[in-house]
Each structure stands twice: as C-alpha cells, then as structure tokens.
C-alpha cells in the first residue's frame, strides 16, 4: 500500500437505486484505486473495487483514436443530420449530464428515452393511469409496520434495502426493528430474500395480476371464489388473513419489483398494486413504490419529467414534447427500424436488447458514452470514454424514492465527465442547428431514399 491514502467519508454508492450515502472509502491515490469501502454491500464493494482507471483513448471514430474536439464535431454532425435520432440510456450518469442530453435531443428534434422503458417504465405508465400513494424511504424506516415486496429479490439486487430502510432498522415508531414489522414476500420462486419474510406467497408464474385483483376485491369487502387457489396458487384463507393484516396495520408499504413490470400484463400489474394501495387507504395509510435498479434511473425520470413533462419515451420531432411509450420507446423504435441515428449514454443496449433492435443499431450511426469498452462502444461510429459518476465525478443522483443525493468523488480520472462532453456537444449541435435553419429558410428537406 502506498503512503498516498485518502479517506472519503459519507461517499455515495451509485450502483443500485438504494444510493447509499454512508460509505467510507479508503482511496490509494497513487494507484487510483479504492482499496476499501466500509459500509458497502457486496455489490457496492465490487462497484468500488472494479472502477479503476483503464488506459485508452478518450474518443474513437469508427474504432480509430481521435482527438476529443474532432469526435465532438463528428458526433454533432451525425446527430444534426439525422431525421429520427434517438437518445437512450442516462441511468448511470449524473442529473447534470442527463439535463444536457435532454437539451441536445430537443435541439436535434429527436426522441429521448431512458433505461426506465425496459425496467419500471410500466410502473410510470400505471402511475399516470391510477395515481400513486408515495413516500420516502425514511418514512418507511420510521413508520412502516407492514412491508410487502412483490416480484423482486432485494437480498440479491438491493442488499442494503432490508437493513437500511425497510426491514431491520429501528425507527421512531418501529423501535424494535424487524419485530415491529410484518414482512411479506410475493414471488414465483423461493429466493435469497425468502428467509427474511414472515409470510411468503408463492404465486403461480404470470398470475400476479389475478392475485392483486382478488386482493383488491377482498379489501373492498367482496367475496372471492375459492377457485382462486387453483388459479394463483394462494388459498383464499391465506389471502383473507393477509388482507386483514393489511387493513389493520398502521403504515403499510408495497414495494414493486421487475417481476411485475416485465411479465405479461406489465403496466396493469404495477397498476393493480398501486390501486391496491389506494384501496387500502380507506382503512389505514398505505403506499406503493417501485424498487428501482440502476443508480440514477430515478434521476433520469425526474430530469426528463422536469424538462419535458414526461418521464421517458418523449419525442421532439414536431418541436414540442410528445409522450407515447410503445411508439417512442427505444426497443420499439429500433426493432421497427425507425431510428436513423442513436446517442447512447452510460448504457449498453448492444449487449442486452432484443436481437432485432441490436441488428438495427449495427445499421445506423451510433454515438456512445461509456466508462469502459462495451458492446455498444464497439459498434459505435463515435465512442467517448468518460469518467465514472460517483467515483471520479461529482453531481447529483436520485435515490429510488425521489430523494436527490450529492455525490462525493473519490479520485480524479484522466477522462472527462459525461457532463463535460455533453455540454460541448450541445454547444456544437446548437450552432449547427441554427446554421441549418438559416440556410434552409422556411425549411425544405432532402427527399428520402427511393423505394426498394
């Protein structure tokens, strides 16, 4: 170990949506490496340990090393020439960078979408349809005496969710921690989270909606047929008991996982849970909240909503924002072959999208922002290498309960931040857009490619 050691107190881990801000990082400034992350969970420790500085060019054009200025120019030219460009990603960068990305998309009259659309986007849709009774995680810690997780495995996906916010912490009205809480888990299989639960409901796969709907009927005092057991795998007796517990708690919370949003029924599944929380407010206080995945995906929703009025899947081609998931969300836009350029920030769709969408990404010019070489940066026309948020760059990230948290970087990176490059790109795009509108006068455009 070198002598040049720095301790960063109250640092923030931006790996998952918990955005824990009580890290104590021991940083070796010579090696540019975090050697110890006190308080971090297993995922957080890996996040801090793995983000070291890897030598490499700051920018590549078609795989060839290039100067940053040239790459920004090339990216700006590519994006302003496009007729239906799409901006995607944004969940693993700061709110400040996200804001620049929205501005760029507005200037180029493109479509902006975040990883929300492949994660809790359906919950966002449901929220608009049925409303949301919400809270912060601090309230959960201090008040909740009934906690239900539906369709998620936080023990492995958000390891500190139980201990920091929702199950074991001792709060103002929950002085005995877990003893004061009833913890319920609904999932299709037993997972690492199951032992934490007081009640585990193993629902048949794809029957979440039916189960939630039957619970809503019971909450409203209607009878439900005993055949519900055959349908969902949960007996009417268990359901009736559960609903009584829910109605009689002081403060109940329903956490939704992606087992609801990414299975058949999608936004109706999360909508059913939110509606269940609304129904339960006839009897006691109940809230519902999606358990968000990426570090700043909640920030992406907040920034895009604040700037455009809508959380994801927003199109600017008419010059004003329009929202239509299914039409303007990235997987759909790429799979149908609509987009003719893509700006991908802090995300790797080329590794995890459906094949049709990846195939289309290979056909169009892509501008990518990544901290490491990824499948997306390999296929990109212009690829920028940036510093890691929360480790090398400061800024703001939102926790899954929409609480903004300041980032405290550990050490400097030789690479610029997403925000710095995006700000420069925005400036150049703006110049090009103005020049284009002046030269075109009333605006005539090229004729499209001839019919094939």
């Amino acid at each position: 170990m070198s002598e040049n050691i720095k301790i960063v107190k109250n640092a923030t881990c931006t790996f998952c949506g918990c955005v824990c801000d009580d890290m104590e990082l021991t940083v070796d400034l010579d090696k540019k490496q975090i050697i110890k992350a006190k308080n971090a969970c297993v995922l957080g420790r890996a996040w801090f340990a793995e983000h070291t500085i890897q030598e490499g060019p700051v920018a590549l054009i078609d795989g060839k090393e290039s100067k940053l200025e040239d790459a920004i120019e090339e990216a700006a030219q590519t994006l302003t020439k496009a007729k239906f460009p799409i901006t995607y990603g944004l969940s693993d960068t700061t709110c400040e960078a996200q804001r620049q990305a929205v501005a760029i998309t507005d200037f180029i009259r493109g479509t902006i979408d975040t990883t929300t659309s492949v994660c809790h986007g359906p919950s966002g849709l449901a929220f608009q349809g049925v409303g949301e009774s919400t809270m912060t995680l601090g309230e959960v810690k201090n008040r909740a005496d009934f906690v239900m997780y539906w369709g998620g495995n936080p023990a492995e996906s958000h390891p500190r969710h139980f201990t920091r916010y929702s199950v074991t912490p001792k709060g103002m009205f929950t002085p005995n921690g877990k003893k004061d809480r009833t913890v319920v888990l609904v999932d299709v299989r037993r997972t690492a989270s199951t032992p934490v639960a007081d009640i585990f409901l193993q629902v048949k796969p794809g029957k979440d909606f039916e189960l939630a709907w039957a619970m809503r009927a019971l909450v409203k005092g209607h009878t439900v047929d005993a055949s519900i057991e055959e349908e969902t795998g949960i007996s009417l007796e268990v359901l009736t008991d559960l609903v009584e517990r829910m109605k009689n708690c002081n403060y109940g919370v329903l956490f939704m996982g992606m087992g609801l949003t990414m299975t058949r029924g999608r936004h109706f599944n999360s909508g059913a849970i939110m509606a269940l929380a609304t129904d339960l407010n006839e009897f006691t206080h109940f809230v519902a909240k999606p358990v968000r995945g990426h570090g700043n995906v909640t920030g992406a929703d907040n920034v895009v909503s604040w700037q455009t009025g809508y959380p994801f899947g927003v199109n600017f081609s008419k010059g004003y924002p329009r929202f239509n998931p299914g039409e303007f969300t990235t997987v759909d836009t790429l799979s149908r072959g609509d987009a003719d350029a893509a700006l991908i920030i802090a995300s790797d769709p080329a590794a995890n999208f459906p094949q049709a969408a990846i195939n289309h990404l290979h056909k169009i010019p892509v501008v990518s922002f990544d901290t490491k070489e990824t499948a997306t940066s390999q296929l990109a026309h212009v690829a920028f290498r940036t510093s890691t948020y929360g480790i090398n760059t400061g800024g703001t990230a939102y926790r899954m309960d929409d609480v903004p948290i300041t980032l405290r970087p550990a050490f400097e990176s030789p690479f610029p931040s997403d925000e710095e490059i995006l700000t420069a790109l925005k400036k150049r795009v703006h110049e090009l857009v103005i020049a284009k509108s002046r030269s075109q006068g009333a605006g005539t455009a090229k004729v499209a490619a001839p019919i094939r």
């Binding site: 039916e210 081609s317 005539t444």
Partner: protein, 269 residues
C-alpha cells in the same frame, strides 16, 4: 371523382401525415395537394416527395402502397372517405368525428384512438390499442364503429366510453380494460384478463374464456339486442353463424372492484 395518392418513395423514418384527410384535401387542386406538408421524422417535406397525386377537389381519397411507416392518416377527419389499398401505420383515424376509412391490409397500433364518431373497417389485422384512450387520458372512443376482420392485439377498447368495436378474429389481453360503456364483440378467442376494471358496457365473445376472479356468473339467456348487432355484422361479411344469432349466452357481471354494472357475454354452445 376521387383524389388518388400512390406511394412512390418509401419513407426511411416514420412519416407523419395528419394532412391526408378529406377535411384538409377535399377543396384543393392536384398542384395544391402536392405541395402540402408532411413530416418526415423531424423534417418538413411535401406530399409530392412521397406520393404521386391524381385527381382533385373530392372528399374521397384512395391511397395505394405499403403505408406501414406512415402515421396519423385521417386524424380528426369529420367527413368523406379514405380507401387504403395496402398496410398502414399507427394512429389511423385518431379522434375522427365522421366519415369512413376502409383498409384492405393491416393497420399498426393505435387504430382510431379517442374517436368520436364515424366508421373504420379493416380487412386485415390490427395492432395494439384499437379504439383506446391515449396514455393519461380518462376515456377512449366516445362513439362510432370499428370493424376488424382479422385479429387485434392487446388493450382493445381501453377505457372506451361508447360506440362499437368488432374483432372478426382473436383479440389480445385486456380487451375492454377500464371500459366505461359501449360494446366490444370478438368472434375468435379472447386473450387473458378481459374487462379488468370494467365499469359498464358489454364484451361479447363467441368462444369460451377464463375470466378474472372479480367477475361473477349470472345466468344463461338470449339477449335480444345482440341479434340486431349480429345480423348487421353478418351483412358486412363477418363469419356469424345462424345459431349464434338466436343462441344462448352466459352472462358474467363485473368488474366487482368497480360498479359491477358491466357484462361479459360468452356464447353457450
């Protein structure tokens, strides 16, 4: 006399053409129609860039070609007729308040969302969200009729408030979800979770279907009004059998979570 638009150049990104509607084109000459603006992605182009125009001053439009990348045709139309000889893209006949659209091929998602009145007939299949509400909107179609000879996908008649939607083939999941009133008739199979959140209105299906636990069985009966509907559909060439017209139907009422005033009628063999 009709106005004929035939596609000569396939757009390479989606083309938004609200303008292709009798309301906008009926009074124009051929030259004027050619100059009308359509939006090719974020760029303004003219109809002539994509279509060969023939005819003028007519409230009857005939469109030829594969229009599956062209959206918003017939948006807000209130009179006249559009015949489409081919496939067509999303948002066909959005919020139309009159007139008729006949499509020989398939249509994309969001067919006639939030329509007020008028008629749409599709000979092929339809996408998701037929006659639905837009996201965040409280009500879907307020009237009119949508006839699809083929299949439709999810959320047929989402939050519809009045009017009639007929699916000749199968429909997807959540048919008639959050429906406020109106009639949906499906001649093929229903998907799952039909009528979730149904307040009033009827969903009729000629095949048996597993319903949500919040629907309760009422009776088997012969609904008189259904004969009128089915005779009309038979006259349109949809495959209605005689025994279905005079047949018995299981009546399921729900959704109990809402008013319990809606009904799902399943043909009783």
């Amino acid at each position: 006399m009709t106005i004929s638009l035939s596609l000569h150049t396939q757009p390479d990104v989606p083309l938004e053409a609200e303008l292709i509607s009798p309301d906008k084109l009926a009074g124009l000459t051929t030259a004027e129609i050619e100059k009308q603006t359509v939006e090719h992605g974020n760029q303004k182009t003219t109809i002539a860039d994509f279509f060969t125009v023939a005819g003028e001053k007519s409230d009857s439009l005939v469109l030829e070609g594969d229009l599956s990348k062209i959206k918003h045709i017939g948006s807000g139309m209130s009179f006249g007729k559009i015949n489409i000889n081919g496939d067509v893209g999303a948002h066909l006949g959005t919020a139309m308040s009159g007139g008729e659209i006949v499509v020989e091929g398939n249509v994309g998602d969001w067919l006639a969302p939030e329509m007020l009145a008028g008629r749409v007939e599709v000979k092929g299949n339809a996408g998701h969200m037929v006659g639905s509400a837009y996201r965040g909107s409280p009500a879907g179609i307020l009237g009119g009729e949508i006839i699809i000879h083929g299949n439709a996908r999810n959320e047929v008649g989402h939050a519809m408030r009045n009017g009639m939607i007929v699916i000749g083939g199968d429909s997807g999941d959540f048919t008639g979800v959050n429906m406020l009133a109106g009639t949906i008739i499906v001649l093929g199979e229903l998907g799952i979770r039909t009528g979730a959140g149904l307040r009033r209105g009827s969903v009729v299906c000629m095949k048996n279907s597993k319903l949500l636990p919040t629907f309760s069985y009422s009776c088997v009966y012969q609904p008189t009004y259904l004969r009128l509907y089915l005779l009309y559909l038979q006259s349109l060439g949809l495959g209605i059998r005689e025994e279905q017209i005079m047949g018995h139907y299981e009546r399921w009422c729900g959704d109990i979570i809402e008013f319990n005033r809606g009904e799902i009628l399943l043909y009783h063999e």
